[in-house]
């Protein structure tokens, strides 16, 4: 998986600036491979999101019906009010802090914009701007991750533990998986910045930046889905 991204470093690249190798589709192998990999990732997140939706529904049904084990699983010493609100509303919405998550979602979306600017810079040969935009992207991504860590600790304190309830297991697995993908993206961005400082990320390797960008945009789009499905629709 990640190897596919790494291998881009050592395989033929074709773009308008560089005499590329002949390919049947006129698309570089790396770019094609990245698209295929992302196609596969769609199924991965599709299955995870479906699992979350099913688990949440089952959890809420049991919670509202008053299944004592399920109620006990989400309750701690301090959250009786929250649990009651969830039961009366029949929804997981009371757990969430929508304005906070909206902000962190916005930050992540902005990083897609800066990623586009980074790619633009490298095709124009503006390596200073490349580093600035890559760093900004990385910073925004890291901010998002920090927000997620903060959110996890809050939820945990509110009683949503990983092993306590079906909802907790499904929620942390789905968002955690997305978080792991963001972290992978951050490592790739860091590598690009390092290579750029070493003078090894120039115009002729613009495609490498583009590929990391593709991955980054994909991770952002997945978050838009998760944010909508998990946080906004309950």
């Amino acid at each position: 998986m990640a190897e596919a991204i790494i291998d881009q470093a050592a395989t033929p690249v074709a773009d308008e600036h560089h005499e590329g190798h002949y390919t049947s589709l006129g698309l570089s192998n790396m770019k094609l491979a990245m698209w295929l990999f992302l196609g596969s990732e769609v199924l991965l997140f599709g299955a995870l999101i479906s699992t979350y939706l099913l688990s949440k529904t089952r959890f809420l049904t049991e919670l509202v019906a008053g299944n004592p084990e399920v109620v006990a699983g989400i309750s701690n010493d301090e959250n009786a009010e929250l649990v009651n609100e969830m039961i009366t509303k029949g929804s997981v919405e009371p757990l969430f802090d929508i304005p906070f998550t909206s902000l962190s979602s916005f930050i992540l979306l902005m990083s897609s914009l800066t990623m586009v600017l980074a790619h633009k810079s490298v095709t124009e040969g503006n390596y200073k701007n490349l580093r600035i935009w890559l760093s900004t992207t990385m910073l925004l991504g890291a901010t998002f991750m920090a927000g997620q860590v903060y959110e996890f600790t809050t939820f945990y304190r509110e009683g949503l533990t990983y092993d306590g309830s079906l909802l907790g297991t499904a929620f942390y697995t789905l968002t955690g998986f997305h978080g792991a993908h963001v972290t992978g993206g951050l490592i790739m961005l860091g590598s690009l910045i390092y290579l750029s400082f070493k003078g090894r990320m120039q115009k002729d390797r613009a495609e490498t930046v583009e590929l990391v960008g593709l991955y980054w945009h994909f991770v952002d789009i997945v978050w838009v889905l998760i944010f909508t499905i998990v946080y906004l629709i309950h």
Partner: protein, 449 residues
């Protein structure tokens, strides 16, 4: 050409052979699980649907396989005759023909699917919860699978409820049943009038039995092939199913969803009786157990039972009502520690997941008891008995207690059937029980008629 013809004939014969064997298998009534031997309307519906399809498939199979073999033999070139420059006609394809043999099977399958869809809904209508069940069936039975035996609960008073331990009427089979209403694990005590039996389901012949199938632990599958197809017992879900047994008799089944260690030893028995016999059986099952008079062997056995067995097995007595838990450890219910209700153990023809007969006949030659495997069944005698009450402690007409097997089982059940009592799955061994204590226990069990 002549050769080819005779070969074709021979091939058709050869192709027909497996089909013939299959049909010979169909007719075989000595196989207790034979799916081609339907004894009730549900199984008959399935059988009537599949028989013609098997026939069509056999014809196609013989045509294709035979055709391929004929083509091969006809068109082969012997190595000596091979001429590298002699080519057959180079046909690349024939769209008309190919569209034809794309469409033809599609039309055939469309036809089959019409009958299939009708059959699905025919079966489903009678299987439907709520109206379907109440409309059809006289008797509601809850079927609970667990590692590795089946429990059957009869809604005797017909109120449609199998109550849970808190007295909440949750398992209501007369309304749309909503699994969300159930508490899990199924800690179901019964109405005072309802009964619970294990391993063997006794039903009235000719009447529709409505089943609500569920499980306490892993997924099992309830299957009495001669009465109906199978339906999975899934924890957290209750599935509706039903069947009718046309005539009195014994119908065996086997758990058909892989359920772990002793999946091969999780079988079930259905005994269909005439209605009045069934009523007698049911009235007997609704009694609480007699307490043996003091200073008998059985009374000593009862004491051992209470010390050694009662943490898992329940025997309803006067004062230990059907809603009482009798020390059952429901924390462990999910891991199948819940064990068969033994209140009327002595009336069941099978035990231990229906792998052993409770009664055996005498060997005509040696006058010894037969070994405990269910190779010999004495159903006819069993059914002809005036009552289910043995005349003496260990004798039931010509049948006798399968005492050797029962002893082996109580002393060391895991050696008889793969179980994992250390993980609360199955019955542990009782190496400490002496021979005389075993005799006392069995004497007590024999009073549970």
């Amino acid at each position: 050409m002549q050769l080819v013809k005779s070969r074709t004939k021979w091939l058709a014969g050869a192709g027909g052979l497996p089909v013939g064997l299959l049909l010979a298998g169909c007719a075989d009534e000595t196989k207790p699980l034979n799916t081609f031997n339907p004894q009730g309307p549900r199984a008959e519906l399935i059988d009537n649907l599949i028989q013609p399809i098997f026939l069509i498939a056999a014809v196609i199979g013989v045509a294709v396989v035979g055709g391929a073999i004929v083509l091969t033999i006809k068109n082969r070139v012997k190595p000596d005759d091979f001429d590298p420059d002699d080519f057959p006609a180079q046909t690349h394809g024939n769209p008309t023909l190919e569209w034809g043999w794309t469409a033809a099977p599609a039309v055939l399958l469309a036809g089959i699917s019409v009958f299939t869809v009708f059959a699905i809904w025919d079966l489903e209508e009678t299987n439907a919860p709520g109206g379907g069940i109440a409309g059809g069936g006289e008797l509601d039975v809850m079927v609970i699978g667990q590692q590795w035996w089946w429990e059957y609960r009869y809604d005797v008073d017909g109120d449609g409820f199998f109550e849970d331990v808190n007295g909440n009427g949750v398992l209501n089979t007369t309304d749309e049943w909503d699994p969300a209403d159930a508490e899990w694990p199924l800690e179901i005590a019964l109405d005072d009038d309802d009964v619970s039996v294990a391993n063997e389901m006794v039903i009235p012949a000719g009447e529709q039995i409505d089943l609500s199938i569920t499980s306490r632990d892993v997924i099992h599958s309830f299957w009495i092939p001669r009465l109906n197809g199978k339906r999975d017992a899934v924890p957290g879900r209750v599935h509706s199913w039903n069947f009718v047994a046309d005539t009195p008799g014994e119908y065996t089944g086997w758990c058909t969803e892989y359920c772990g260690l002793s999946h091969a030893r999780m079988r079930m028995n259905v005994i269909a009786l005439e209605r009045d016999e069934f009523n007698r059986w049911l009235a007997n099952q609704s009694r609480v157990a007699d307490i043996p008079s003091e200073d008998t062997e059985a009374a000593a056995g009862r004491q051992i039972f209470q010390q050694q067995c009662a943490s898992c097995h329940i025997i309803w007595e006067e004062g230990i009502g059907q809603d009482a838990l009798y020390g059952r450890d429901f924390e462990a219910a999910l891991t199948a520690k819940a064990a068969p209700n033994l209140t009327h153990f002595a009336t069941r023809s099978v035990m231990a997941g229906a792998i052993y007969s409770t009664f055996v006949g005498l060997d005509a030659n040696t006058n010894d008891l037969q070994p405990g495997n269910r190779n010999d069944r004495y159903l006819d005698e069993y059914l002809e008995l005036p009552s289910f009450i043995p005349e003496e402690n260990d004798q039931l007409g010509e049948l006798r207690w399968n005492r050797p097997q029962l002893k082996r089982w109580i002393k060391n059940a895991p050696s008889q059937k793969d179980m994992a009592p250390e993980d609360l799955r199955g019955m542990p061994a009782f190496p400490g029980l002496t021979d005389s204590e075993l005799d006392q226990l069995i004497a007590y069990l024999a009073t549970l008629d």
